[in-house]
């Protein structure tokens, strides 16, 4: 019976060899895939045990990891949580990460290639590996002003402030906001409770409205109409359009009215300048019909609308002007309604480009990457991504926007500072006539040498929970406050 026993011994060895071959495949060949798989929490757990880099803005710390005696050696802290949550995002063991914590994770956890030599020296010197720091373009005073202006009134909305010459994001607020601190807590229960509260919140708090939501731009879109008209060379600010209080949309029986059913001034016709200042819908419907769909679409694209891959580094949801199936649709599109929908970031890019002589700059949030010892490893260079309008048209647009601002009522005007602006009041919802409109204010200042461009959006009329809410009354004071904060900082 010894022959079978010997054969069994050989079979047993073959079985063990088979096991080892399979384990070699798993632990050597496939190891990298398994180690870096999104669903493998081990990587996150390891990161949690290592000092993560800090996020800062002009020397003010927005997020940092401090040593603790807790279960994990480090605790993530957000000193001014809610006001800056739309920048930092959150970093949670259970719920992964959001905002910059997610988008700049490679830098913060130290795995970015730019930190390679540093990692190598950590390895040799035996220093605890730690992440790199992210310095943002945010001006904390502007961010705080934007957040306070929105949240003091209990508004649901967003403010974006850009530096027109570079595209640097000076402020990016979204309200209502949330405190990222409990999500970074070491206790799972705290994280779970906070997460449940934040995800159930209505209106949502985890959404960054500046880049993740699109809204009908209403009359602020008329800047794009005017830009297209001036670029065509066939129109000047003095070109005349109908002043009728109401027209019928092309090939339909649907009426299109001006705001409150007013006529556009006292004459039979109104100039483009007056039409923009009074925001006359009928005049722009006529202009759009004359310009045609292609001209309007080209101009919108030149301002960046429809661009899919804007990353600041967080991804910005693409804005759209819709399909525009008919002339009637084109007429509605021209007043920023129908299927037109923009992120506050996109609307800020439009005014920033006008302020910057037509040069469209890529918006960016990270100004510098630093090593653990605050040594600069990489600096973001401003990037021009297009020429939206010619410098001459930009100048004319600026002049028209100055004319707008000087005709606007409302609080918060800053003495000695000339602002160029446009307001918007956009209908939305299934029953637009009885839903308070979204209100907008887009502006830049000083008009003669623009330092800051802002877009303010307040959802559903803010606290004036009625149909009479307008961009001028609700959004403009916020925009002016933000501009004031920005100019104080730069003086």
């Amino acid at each position: 019976m010894n022959t079978p026993v010997r054969r069994i011994a050989i079979a047993v060895m073959a079985m063990v060899l088979l096991l080892m071959a399979n384990l070699t495949y798993i632990q050597v060949v496939k190891a990298g895939d398994y180690r870096t798989d999104q669903r493998n929490q081990r990587v996150l757990l390891a990161e949690y045990s290592r000092q993560r880099g800090q996020i800062s803005a002009q020397g003010q710390v927005l997020a940092r990891s401090v040593e603790t005696d807790g279960q994990y050696p480090f605790q993530r802290e957000y000193p001014d949580g809610p006001a800056f949550a739309s920048i930092t995002g959150y970093y949670s063991l259970i719920y992964s990460a959001g905002g910059l914590e997610r988008a700049a994770n490679d830098v913060l956890n130290g795995s970015d290639d730019r930190l390679f030599t540093r990692r190598l020296s950590d390895l040799i010197t035996g220093r605890d590996p730690s992440g790199g720091n992210v310095v943002t373009t945010i001006d904390p005073a502007v961010q705080q002003a934007a957040y306070d202006a929105l949240s003091e009134n209990g508004y649901t909305g967003s403010v974006v402030a850009l530096q027109p010459s570079t595209g640097a994001i000076l402020a990016m607020a979204s309200t209502p906001s949330y405190d990222p601190n409990p999500l970074a807590a070491q206790g799972a229960r705290t994280q779970q409770d906070a997460w449940a509260e934040y995800t159930d919140a209505d209106p949502p708090v985890l959404t960054n409205r500046a880049i993740q939501e699109i809204y009908p731009p209403g009359s602020t879109f008329k800047l794009i109409d005017v830009a297209a008209a001036l670029e065509s060379g066939r129109y000047t600010p003095e070109s005349q359009f109908t002043a009728a209080s109401s027209i019928t949309l092309a090939d339909t029986a649907t009426p299109l009215q001006n705001f409150n059913g007013n006529a556009c001034g006292t004459g039979r016709t109104a100039s483009l300048r007056d039409a923009l200042q009074r925001s006359c819908n009928t005049a722009f419907a006529e202009l759009a019909e004359q310009l045609g769909e292609q001209a309007l679409r080209d101009q919108a694209e030149a301002f960046g609308i429809g661009t899919e891959d804007i990353a600041i580094p967080m991804g910005v949801v693409p804005s759209t002007i819709g399909d525009i199936e008919s002339t009637a649709a084109l007429q509605q599109t021209s007043i920023g309604q129908r299927d037109v929908a923009l992120t506050p970031m996109q609307n800020a890019m439009v005014v920033a480009a006008i302020a910057n002589g037509g040069r469209l700059m890529a918006p960016y949030l990270i100004s510098e990457i630093q090593g653990q010892d605050l040594e600069t490893l990489d600096t973001t260079e401003p990037d021009q991504i297009g020429q939206s309008v010619s410098p001459g048209v930009a100048r004319t647009l600026t002049e028209l926007m100055v004319n707008n601002e000087n005709s606007y009522q409302g609080e918060g005007k800053i003495r000695g500072v000339q602002i160029a602006a446009k307001t918007g009041t956009a209908e939305h919802g299934v029953d637009p006539k009885s839903t308070p409109p979204h209100v907008w204010y887009v502006a830049f200042a000083p008009a003669e040498n623009p330092q800051v461009a802002v877009a303010v959006l307040v959802e559903s009329g803010g606290d004036r929970n009625n149909l009479a809410a307008t961009g001028g009354a609700v959004a403009a004071p916020i925009g002016r406050a933000v501009i004031g904060a920005a100019l104080r900082g730069s003086q």
């Binding site: 010894n2 079985m15 088979l18 096991l19 384990l23 632990q27 050597v28 180690r35």
Partner: protein, 474 residues
């Protein structure tokens, strides 16, 4: 008897007992080292207690060693140290997982989980007691053949018991393989395994000629006669019964595999193997068609990540653990093996693989290989057919069980629930395997002991021998 043995030990061939003692001490040192690593990585403090624990483990092993020295002095010297090392590493890993679970419970604010390591230590004690008891009671393995039918009958009852008892007594986590006896539970199947091997070995030795009788020739093989297939059919039916009633793929597979290998060893006929495998294939196909839990196992084997948040979670996590461990492992106590459900029992392999890496797993596989091949070696060396069959069966059981569990946890074969012998948490498995090893040592003792010299019958001097006259019959 005992005195005789000791007397012979001094004069006779080397017993290997000293080697065994040195290797046991080495195993205790390795286990203590592993414990120190776990403490250093988990608690960041080291206490002198660790050395005391190591010393206590060594004392336990020396106790077993003394029993072997007394009861089976010629037993194979490598088997017990291999077992001691596996058992010790298992204890360290179970302790390490306890620490992780306690941490997790504190973090979540939950109640502290029941600690498993004190139980496993207690079971180790029980296992060693049974080990000594088996060596004490079974002085000659051949005597076991006399109780073959009793063993077989008891084995069948133990195997079938959980399947027929109400689920409230026998079901834990979906498998009906338990007997819940108040404060503790046992898996009678683990003990049935050994009893059935004893029965089959004795039965096959008795009826060996019968099974070797040639039937028809087919493709150059001699097929057994149809009526001789009966025992195989019975074993097959029992395996299917276990599968259906107890929802236990592992035990079913193990049981059938052992019967097949014993049949092959006894008859030296490859045809038995092929017939058995075709039975197995048929059974597997029917089971796949009929039972949802078998289909699920096959699906998560093919792609565990297709349903990662559901059925594939466990094996998916195990693969992540093994992959994260890589070649060298994260180091004992520095990984996250607790993320895999049942990391201390069915998925011991991934726990060890994550922290010890491929290198560590290779070392563990080599220890298993040493244990199994020493068992098979005893089968080759022992002189009686029953001993050969018994040792082959016992050693192969360990091999097949390691293959089924390790293969299942590493996605080589579909996952079935079994424990890694000596490493995994589980009292029944540990205690039963200690009994198994005691039997292997007993057989190896018989194989290595010098042949008892016949007491020389003094021949009468030639002068005193009576002279006989032989007359030629006329």
């Amino acid at each position: 008897m005992v005195a005789q043995g000791e007397a012979r030990e001094q004069a006779g061939p080397p017993t290997g007992r000293t080697i065994e003692l040195v290797l046991l001490a080495f195993a205790a040192v390795l286990v203590t080292g592993a414990l120190i690593l776990v403490e250093a990585n988990q608690e960041q403090t080291l206490t002198i207690d660790l050395l005391l624990i190591g010393a206590a483990y060594l004392a336990l092993l020396v106790g077993a060693h003394l029993a072997v020295r007394r009861l089976a002095p010629y037993a194979d010297p490598l088997i017990l140290p291999a077992v001691a090392l596996l058992n010790g590493l298992g204890l360290v890993m179970i302790y390490r997982l306890d620490l992780a679970k306690a941490d997790r419970a504190v973090a979540l604010g939950n109640d502290l989980p029941t600690l498993l390591w004190p139980r496993q230590v207690a079971w180790t004690g029980v296992g060693l007691l049974l080990f000594v008891a088996v060596l004490w009671v079974v002085r000659d393995h051949r005597k076991l053949a006399a109780y073959a039918y009793t063993a077989g009958f008891t084995g069948l009852i133990l195997l079938a018991l959980p399947g027929v008892l109400p689920s409230s007594i026998s079901e834990v986590n979906g498998a009906k393989i338990w007997l819940r006896l108040g404060i503790f539970s046992i898996q009678p199947g683990e003990f049935a395994k050994i009893l059935l091997i004893i029965f089959f070995a004795a039965f096959l030795v008795q009826k060996r000629d019968l099974f070797s009788t040639a039937g028809r020739r087919f493709l150059g093989m001699e097929l057994p006669r149809a009526r001789d297939l009966a025992p195989l059919l019975v074993a097959w039916a029992f395996s299917v019964g276990v599968l259906v009633l107890e929802r236990d793929l592992g035990t079913s597979l193990l049981f059938f595999g052992i019967v097949l290998v014993l049949l092959y060893t006894a008859t030296e006929r490859v045809s038995w193997m092929l017939i058995g495998l075709s039975f197995f294939a048929a059974g597997g196909f029917v089971a796949y068609q009929l039972f949802g839990h078998v289909r699920t196992r096959v699906q998560i084997w093919i792609d565990p990540f297709a349903d990662f948040d559901g059925a594939g979670f466990q094996i998916g996590q195990a693969l992540f653990g093994l992959g994260t461990g890589g070649l060298g492992g994260t180091g004992l106590g520095a990984g996250r093996p607790e993320l895999v459900p049942f990391a201390e029992s069915d998925f011991m392999l991934s726990s060890l693989g994550e922290e010890l890496g491929l290198i560590g797993l290779a070392a563990i596989m080599v220890i298993y290989l040493v244990l199994i091949t020493r068992g098979l070696r005893s089968a080759l060396a022992v002189r009686d057919s029953f001993g050969k069959l018994l040792a082959t069966g016992l050693a192969f059981t360990l091999a097949l069980q390691v293959f089924i569990v390790a293969g299942g946890a590493s996605k080589l074969i579909p996952l079935t629930g079994l424990t890694l012998p000596f490493l995994s948490y589980g009292g029944s498995s540990l205690v039963a395997n200690y009994a198994l090893v005691a039997l292997l040592l007993r057989i190896s003792n018989a194989a290595r002991a010098p042949l008892p010299r016949r007491p020389a019958v003094p021949l009468p001097p030639i002068a005193e021998a009576g002279t006989e006259l032989v007359e030629r019959p006329s």
